[in-house]
């Protein structure tokens, strides 16, 4: 008598992601990118954003960004950033730097507490989050997200940081199921959970889809429950060249190669602009599938080396 379950899946085919991005993100919208520095970045989705042709985007992330922001700026998608730190850690982000210096983008002066507080407020369903910090720094003098407020109990003046509700959040994790339950296997989970709760729409790339029964077996390990996820896509090595621990490590060589190209372009070296365009063509515009992308960055052999590095930690 029981009808077979017809619960709809949130798993989407890789070639459907571009359409979802165009449907859920307009030019000029606020886009949130998961991960932190060189880990857990949904690079497969970031490349889709670039190919989607969306531009004048406002970018927000966890407090630490780098490669993904620099690439999107190089591709001309970005008008404003709300990123506390933009760095490749070993070196600065060349395109971010030149884009700010030549006025091509506006890099708003924000810090971790205003960004995390903004997600927290949005996730909590309120319009602001109190912050009692920032004494002495010049950052709050320029931060467009904050206001002064008095504590109604102590009378103490403090700051309020406004709710951040991205139009779309792109996240990456190691595992998820077809209904959109997501599980990070990495030790760090960054601000991904808060961003999922704060954003209007959420797309998650996972290195592998797992059976729902393995999710149900360990419910406390589900980092992002399905109710916050609008689409999930399977993309092996979807975070490359950033790391997806414990599955594969950061491809420092690739990031360094990119940074060297971008730094040469920043300095206006002869042919550098063309080389940076060629990078974007090869690894973004012409690498239309994740498989093609992986081939373009060294293929199975390179991925194996990154897996081995991650396993050895």
């Amino acid at each position: 008598m029981t009808a077979p379950s017809q619960r709809p899946q949130k798993l989407v085919a890789p070639d459907a992601v571009g359409g979802l991005i165009r449907a859920w993100l307009d030019d000029g919208d606020l886009l949130a990118i998961g991960g932190l520095f060189k880990q857990g970045r949904p690079m497969v989705l970031v490349r889709e954003v670039i190919r989607s042709g969306r531009n004048r985007l406002k970018l927000v992330s966890s407090p630490g960004s780098g490669f993904d922001a620099d690439l999107m700026i190089a591709a001309g998608c970005v008008a404003e950033t709300f990123l506390p730190a933009v760095t490749l850690e070993d070196r600065m982000c060349p395109t971010f730097r030149s884009a700010v210096e030549n006025g091509a983008i506006t890099a708003h002066c924000v810090d971790a507490l205003s960004i995390v507080g903004g997600y927290l407020a949005a996730a909590n369903g309120v319009t602001f989050q109190p912050v009692a910090a920032w004494v002495g720094s010049d950052v709050p003098k320029h931060n467009p997200l904050i206001a002064r407020i008095d504590c109604p109990f102590t009378g103490q003046p403090l700051y309020a940081t406004q709710a951040i509700r991205p139009k779309l959040a792109l996240l990456h994790a190691q595992e998820g199921d077809v209904y959109g339950n997501v599980r990070h296997l990495s030790t760090m989970t960054y601000a991904d959970q808060m961003m999922a709760r704060a954003a209007e729409k959420v797309i998650v790339s996972v290195d592998r889809i797992v059976d729902t029964e393995t999710i149900v077996a360990r419910p406390r390990e589900t980092t992002i429950p399905c109710i916050y996820v609008d689409a999930i896509v399977e993309a092996a090595y979807g975070a490359h060249p950033t790391g997806s621990f414990p599955l594969y490590s950061i491809d420092e060589d690739h990031i360094e190669m990119y940074a060297t190209l971008a730094e040469a372009a920043r300095k206006g070296e002869a042919g550098a602009d063309t080389a940076l365009r060629a990078y974007l063509d090869r690894h973004v515009h012409h690498a239309l599938t994740q498989q093609a992308y992986v081939e373009s960055v060294g293929g199975a052999q390179r991925m194996k080396a990154l897996e081995e590095e991650a396993a050895s930690l």
């Binding site: 520095f37 730190a85 760095t87 002066c109 910090a133 002495g136 720094s137 760090m188 959970q193």
Partner: protein, 255 residues
């Protein structure tokens, strides 16, 4: 420098390690190989109860050093993982100690990571910014650790204060309601501390491979140098052995 038993970066790590106290709670930021080495070395020597926490992981056990610090690779195993939600709380309540680096570091220990020259939105040079600026003001003290000791880095006054040190001295520091502040600055050439009365940075000791003259020539402000300047005490055999066998087996700090 091959006549010296250690590299400048190793010297910096050992100097910082010696200053950390048992039972304290602290963290480093991103790109913090030397601070991570200092904390690990302190735990192996005089501070087994040093708690490394405040930046989303508790008591990491890295198997080697990395230039980055805030990733699974650089953490190794750890006792607990937190998220930015908890970092929000730590940032308000502060830690016993934290570490900062800067594009500019000024005479009062103010840190600039935003821009050099121009204005914030029309900068001559734009820096990376800072993920978390709060620890400077909320932690009991912070260390400054930089690999560049030059007049470009050590400037009289930062063009932009990303993380506050002693601002423009005692009056402005107290007026702002700040507590804590920078306590020690270690570079490849020397160690500096801060004069309790003027809150200005002053030369504390010069590493054996450097000299007062070299430090002065590479610092953009007066370091209040007295008649006699101490030479930095080199790492002990035990410190160096632990650093190289347990903390930095791949020799990142010797590169």
């Amino acid at each position: 420098m091959s006549r010296y038993p250690c590299s400048p970066a190793e010297m910096q790590a050992v100097l910082l390690a010696r200053d950390l106290k048992d039972g304290e709670l602290g963290a480093a930021g991103a790109s913090a190989a030397i601070p991570m080495a200092a904390m690990m070395l302190a735990r192996l020597t005089h501070a087994p109860d040093l708690q490394i926490a405040g930046e989303m992981f508790v008591n990491p056990r890295p198997r080697q050093l990395w230039n980055s610090m805030l990733d699974d690779r650089a953490l190794g195993a750890c006792e607990a993982a937190e998220t930015f939600l908890e970092l929000f709380g730590h940032s308000h309540r502060g830690l016993d100690f934290f570490f900062h680096n800067g594009m500019q570091i000024d005479a009062f220990g103010n840190i600039n990571l935003h821009h050099i020259g121009g204005t914030l939105h029309k900068p001559k040079m734009r820096g990376p910014g800072a993920a978390n600026i709060s620890y400077a003001a909320t932690s009991r003290r912070f260390y400054i650790c930089t690999g560049n000791h030059s007049q470009r880095t050590f400037v009289p006054r930062a063009d932009f204060i990303t993380s506050p040190g002693y601002l423009d001295g005692p009056e402005s520091y107290h007026a702002a309601g700040l507590a804590g502040g920078p306590c020690l600055c270690v570079t490849p050439l020397a160690a500096m501390d801060f004069d309790p009365a003027t809150l200005r940075m002053r030369l504390k000791s010069v590493h054996p491979w450097s000299s007062v003259d070299e430090v002065v020539a590479n610092t953009g402000f007066d370091l209040g140098i007295g008649e006699r300047v101490e030479e930095t005490r080199l790492p002990s055999e035990n410190e160096l052995s632990l650093l190289r066998t347990r903390v930095d087996p791949k020799g990142l700090l010797r590169r």
